[in-house]
């Protein structure tokens, strides 16, 4: 990880860092631009990441505003409802996304969740392009199961940076993202529910107001103060003791 080079906008990529795969074509991820014939230039400031198995290369960077991408999981706020849709908002100062009334687990014309304006839902983005309204769903279209999506009741929402949200969503946050906070909290005996939205919002619920706040604040501080693994361990243990 430490060896990953830092790129600034306009930096040309050294061909040596590119992954070399015998058969697959090279895939360029976010933040990189191919200038024919064979130079690759960074368009953002961030850390270069490579994946040899997939023969992919991209730049991991922290942007201010969330740009919706299909299949991202987000925490959306219901704005209002119409006959067939809920209009939900996923970030400040952006137009509303559409969430069909029936795209909840087990929802039918007769029974479907009633959501008041301001209610939170954990949803997946199904359509994101520049010409049409964003579309969301709270049920998997293929299996009909919610897979953990749906209305979020109780709890509290905390804002984090987009990079932090991505780190929290990594399959192995400890190895890939230097993030052991949640695992340590769980290991130390703190019980809580958490939902991470790619739009930089984290929903936390636990048995008491104090512990929810403590967990939320800890996630925010890890993000803002850049706590390293060791510090995360210490703070998680200390907090688990306090709230139990």
């Amino acid at each position: 990880m430490a060896a990953d080079p830092i790129l600034l906008p306009g930096d040309y990529l050294d061909p040596k860092v590119l992954p070399s795969h015998p058969s697959k074509a090279l895939k360029l991820g976010p933040g990189l631009l191919h200038i024919p014939p064979n130079s690759i230039v960074s368009t953002v400031a961030g850390r270069l990441c490579t994946d040899n198995k997939k023969n992919a290369v991209w730049v991991e960077y922290n942007s201010g505003r969330y740009i919706p991408v299909v299949d991202d999981l987000v925490i959306a706020t219901i704005h209002h409802s119409a006959t067939d849709f809920y209009y939900a908002s996923i970030s400040d100062y952006s137009s509303n996304a559409i969430l069909p009334n029936l795209s909840f687990e087990g929802a039918s014309r007769k029974s479907r969740p009633q959501l008041a304006p301001g209610a939170l839902v954990y949803a997946r983005i199904t359509l994101a392009n520049k010409h049409m309204d964003l579309e969301l769903e709270c049920v998997s279209a293929s299996t009909g199961k919610s897979d953990g999506l749906g209305p979020l009741t109780g709890g509290m929402v905390f804002s984090v940076s987009l990079a932090m949200a991505r780190r929290l969503m990594l399959p192995k946050p400890g190895e890939q993202g230097q993030l052991v906070l949640l695992e340590e909290l769980g290991a130390a005996g703190a019980s809580f529910e958490i939902a991470v939205g790619r739009n930089g919002r984290v929903w936390v619920d636990s048995k008491s107001v104090k512990s929810t706040l403590a967990i939320g604040n800890m996630i925010q501080r890890t993000d803002q103060e850049g706590w390293m693994v060791e510090k995360q361990r210490i703070m998680a243990k200390r907090m688990a003791k306090e709230i139990s």
């Binding site: 008041a116 009741t153 709890g155 107001v209």
Partner: protein, 292 residues
């Protein structure tokens, strides 16, 4: 449609539940301010106030003008506020209600209470006076703009030095800072604002953050000086609050005003020390100060 989301239902419920358990989201006490940081610029009359993530920059300027005909002895003192899109995207466009109320509150607290001795700004009656202008720029908005702005203006006014002046017959000469030491403004008292936010009819919070402000049912701003004189009260509608609670707020306000005055006093002193180069050394020299 530029629009702020505002707190969701879950956040509201959680916040109210937390208030019942006497906890605030940022784990402050109900009557506690966030950390106040006050800095001064290199020039005189520039103050930079930070209360948590709220940041307000104030700049004082003076110029010689002719006074208004109905007030020949008074130097005009104007306060302008600018809430630009920098502080929050919702502020773009025409002046919002927040901005008008902020300007009006500052005016009531500072101008109507006679904080600045405007008669001391007179050079020649009816002909020439110093006009003082305070420009308040909100750089970042995380609640409690009024208290931050008021502290900023008062601190900047106390820090400001206008050019020394000399009147010879009908002529007014204003010296630059290099020619003569500047003159501090004559302030009669130092009023500061404390804003209280009300929830559920009885919970009173001091120094609300932006999200706490969005969820409040009513608010009351009390302007006071450290001598216990109330300069201004503004509870402009909102949910009704018991009269007894409002009176207790005014007592609490005095405590905060005393504390803020102390912070201001200390910072002004530190700044004065920093600027004082020591008696004889302050004389202009031909040496370049930047070369050690």
């Amino acid at each position: 449609m530029p629009r702020e989301l505002g707190p969701s239902l879950n956040e509201r419920q959680f916040f109210l539940q937390a208030l019942k358990e006497e906890v605030r989201i940022d784990s402050r006490g109900f009557g506690d301010f966030r950390a106040i940081q006050l800095d001064f610029g290199d020039e005189y009359g520039v103050s930079d106030v930070r209360i948590g993530k709220t940041r307000v920059l104030t700049n004082i300027t003076a110029e010689v003008t002719t006074p208004f005909p109905d007030r020949p002895f008074d130097g005009p003192f104007t306060i302008t506020t600018s809430l630009s899109a920098m502080a929050s995207p919702s502020f773009s466009g025409p002046p919002s209600e927040t901005e008008v109320l902020l300007a009006r509150l500052l005016e009531k607290t500072l101008r109507r209470s006679g904080a600045l001795d405007t008669e001391s700004l007179c050079l020649i009656a009816g002909r020439a006076v110093f006009s003082i202008r305070a420009d308040v720029h909100v750089l970042s908005h995380d609640g409690n703009l009024t208290d931050a702005a008021c502290l900023g203006v008062v601190a900047a006014l106390r820090h400001f030095r206008r050019g020394d002046s000399e009147v010879k017959g009908e002529d007014v000469k204003v010296f630059t800072m290099a020619e003569r030491e500047g003159v501090a403004l004559s302030l009669l008292h130092y009023p500061l604002c404390v804003t209280f936010s009300f929830y559920e009819g009885e919970v009173v919070l001091v120094d609300a953050t932006l999200s706490e402000e969005q969820m409040r049912e009513g608010s009351c701003t009390i302007g006071m000086n450290k001598h216990g004189e109330v300069c201004q009260i503004a509870k402009l509608g909102g949910a009704p609050v018991d009269a007894v609670i409002l009176l207790s707020c005014s007592n609490l306000a005095l405590r905060h005003v005393e504390r803020m005055s102390k912070v201001m006093e200390e910072r002004l002193l530190e700044d004065a020390k920093r600027r004082y180069k020591g008696g004889i050394k302050a004389e202009p020299s031909s040496e370049n100060a930047r070369v050690p």
